[in-house]
């Protein structure tokens, strides 16, 4: 394109067909950008630092007393990580959509030729990828463990797979709140509350199960909770298809809800 005066010509507009390929995968572009943002974000490093500081303190203490305790808990680190997800999840996701809504960049994204799910899935996968890196880094404790003792590697494997899926489900649930509000702090608090409720659901369920007429409700509540699909199965090395499907279902369901919420901005704007 030149700066010289150009008379209008219908031909010129066939250029637009040449410039774009049409066959792009926008969510991949969004994913790449968000991942690179995580690795440049001080907040992400602060989260990683706090997590590993805490993990190392607990691990140290555990190892120091390990000879007084039998048997050793091979799922120690994954269990801690899944517990801490009520903090990690909201902190990693709160920015993702809320910031774009507040800055107005969401409006531009929504006028690009891509469906909403592209940037929601792209952002979710980026958050999950960063979380995956954290989980992989935490394997260092497993390596130390194998040097000093003989942990049950099968149990550890199941627990790590569990912690990874568990994290995906938590991050997907947190996506809902960052789409609902444009205030990151509000998104983080609501996410943390939701994750805690899902974490504690099976404890509430066992309390309710004592009441005979509420047993059905208690069973549903237990099924919905995160711990029922992790604590007593994956964390003990039991890989059940049922539990894996639960986490996948939560991820897809939460991302679907997020997409619908973002779509409503077209009607609310």
């Amino acid at each position: 394109m030149t700066d010289a005066p150009m008379p209008y010509d219908a031909q010129t507009h066939h250029l637009s067909e040449e410039v774009t390929t049409g066959g792009s995968i926008p969510f991949w572009a969004v994913f790449k950008r968000e991942v690179s943002l995580y690795f440049r974000s001080p907040v992400a490093y602060a989260i990683a630092f706090a997590l590993f500081f805490f993990l190392s303190l607990v691990f140290n203490g555990y190892i120091a007393q390990a000879n007084q305790r039998a048997p050793a808990q091979p799922a120690l680190i994954p269990n801690l990580v899944t517990f801490l997800l009520f903090l990690i999840g909201p902190l990693l996701t709160m920015r993702l959509i809320a910031e774009e809504t507040r800055e107005g960049t969401l409006e531009v994204l929504m006028t690009l030729p891509m469906g909403e799910w592209h940037f929601i899935v792209g952002k979710f996968l980026a958050a999950w990828a960063y979380y995956t890196v954290l989980v992989l880094l935490s394997l260092v404790y497993q390596i130390i463990w194998t040097q000093v003792g003989v942990p049950d590697q099968g149990v550890a494997f199941g627990a790590y797979i569990g912690a990874w899926l568990y994290g995906g489900a938590v991050l997907a649930v947190c996506m809902i709140w960052t789409a609902v509000t444009e205030d990151q702090i509000v998104a983080a608090f609501l996410s943390a509350a939701t994750v805690l409720v899902l974490y504690l659901a099976d404890i509430a369920a066992s309390a309710l199960a004592a009441q005979p007429n509420l047993s059905m409700f208690a069973e549903i509540l237990r099924e919905l909770g995160l711990q029922a699909h992790y604590g007593s199965t994956l964390a003990r090395g039991v890989l059940r298809l049922h539990d894996i499907l639960y986490f996948i279902f939560i991820i897809i369901g939460a991302l679907f809800i997020t997409t619908r919420i973002v779509e409503t901005r077209r009607w609310r704007a």
């Binding site: 700066d3 150009m6 010509d9 507009h13 410039v19 066959g23 792009s24 531009v108 690009l112 030729p113």
Partner: protein, 324 residues
């Protein structure tokens, strides 16, 4: 090309736009003119596929905005009112990112090209947060040009710029108008007069006038209104002017008396004679130069408070750059 038929958008009880119809031709800049809250942004958001209309039909580049939203979005470049940018990215990276989402080929080179076109190539590798408001506006415009769309929709692109930046941006928009269909919104009337080939005036969700700036001016000048300024009490002079044969009405405006003749004859000779013979010192007597500002005030008069101050001069934000 943009074709809008009977477009209506309702937010709950509020009717943002009501039965808007117009056309924007290729190779032209179509100005979308109206005060804040007139429905300009709403119309533009519908045309960019951001939100659906409540009623009516709009086609952009031959595709219906509702039925074929993706096709429309591929062919539209949109610069929203608050230029939303990722401030931590460099201009080059931002454009490349938007290009990647849009599936633009050779996007690095293409980003260079559009930065060149908006005159920002020297700052290609500066983070957007370090750019001035005018430069950010141009990054936003570059984003709209990335995929070389046939249709450009620019929502108040000159807002908040300094006078020199405003002039540069207007030149750029005029230039783009030669090979694109440009829909350009503004609430500054002289701007529409300078930049646009065709002007659509919208107020409170209705189109109240449409035509070339010159055509709209001619239409209102046909009334042949004249402005008389005198040295003395305007209140006393007013009945004298009203008494001149052939004058339909007269009122005090713009530190003078504006007289509207009943027919198209020039009433100046009679007015001068009447004023002088009644002992008033006549300072000036001229046909009222109608600019878009006048037209706009004229067209929206019945909707405004009668007490509104009417100024002869351009608005303050305009005065430094007004050159028409």
């Amino acid at each position: 090309m943009i074709e809008v038929q009977n477009l209506t958008k309702r937010y709950g009880e509020v009717l943002a736009i009501n039965g808007v119809s117009f056309m924007a031709q290729p190779g032209q800049v179509t100005g979308f003119l109206g005060p804040n809250g007139a429905g300009k942004t709403t119309t533009m958001r519908i045309l960019t596929g951001f939100m659906p209309p409540t009623d009516g039909k709009a086609t952009v580049a031959g595709y219906d905005v509702f039925e074929h939203s993706m096709e429309v979005r591929r062919r539209v470049g949109y610069l929203p009112e608050t230029v939303p940018l990722y401030r931590d990215m460099t201009a080059q990276d931002y454009l490349t990112y938007m290009g990647e989402i849009r599936g633009v080929k050779n996007r690095r080179t293409r980003a260079q090209e559009v930065l060149e076109r908006v005159g920002l190539i020297q700052r290609a590798h500066s983070r957007i947060r370090t750019l001035s408001k005018g430069m950010r506006q141009r990054v936003g415009l570059a984003q709209a040009l990335m995929h070389n769309p046939p249709v450009l929709i620019l929502d108040e692109p000159t807002i908040g710029l300094d006078p020199i930046q405003v002039l540069e941006l207007r030149d750029l928009v005029r230039d783009l108008g030669r090979d694109h269909t440009v829909l350009f919104s503004t609430h500054i009337l002289s701007e529409a007069e300078q930049v646009c080939d065709n002007v659509i005036i919208i107020n409170q969700g209705h189109i109240i006038a449409e035509g070339s700036p010159a055509g709209l001016r001619a239409e209102l000048e046909r009334g042949g209104r004249v402005l008389a300024r005198i040295d003395g009490d305007l209140e006393q002079a007013l009945p004298v002017v009203q008494g001149v044969p052939g004058i339909a009405s007269a009122e005090i405006r713009m530190d003078g008396i504006v007289a509207t003749p009943a027919n198209h004859d020039d009433p100046r000779a009679q007015i001068a004679q009447a004023l002088v013979s009644n002992g008033f010192k006549l300072l000036e007597l001229r046909p009222l130069a109608v600019n878009l500002e006048e037209i706009f005030l004229e067209l929206t008069r019945h909707e405004r408070n009668a007490m509104t101050e009417v100024s002869d001069t351009a608005t303050p934000e305009e005065s430094e750059v007004a050159s028409s």
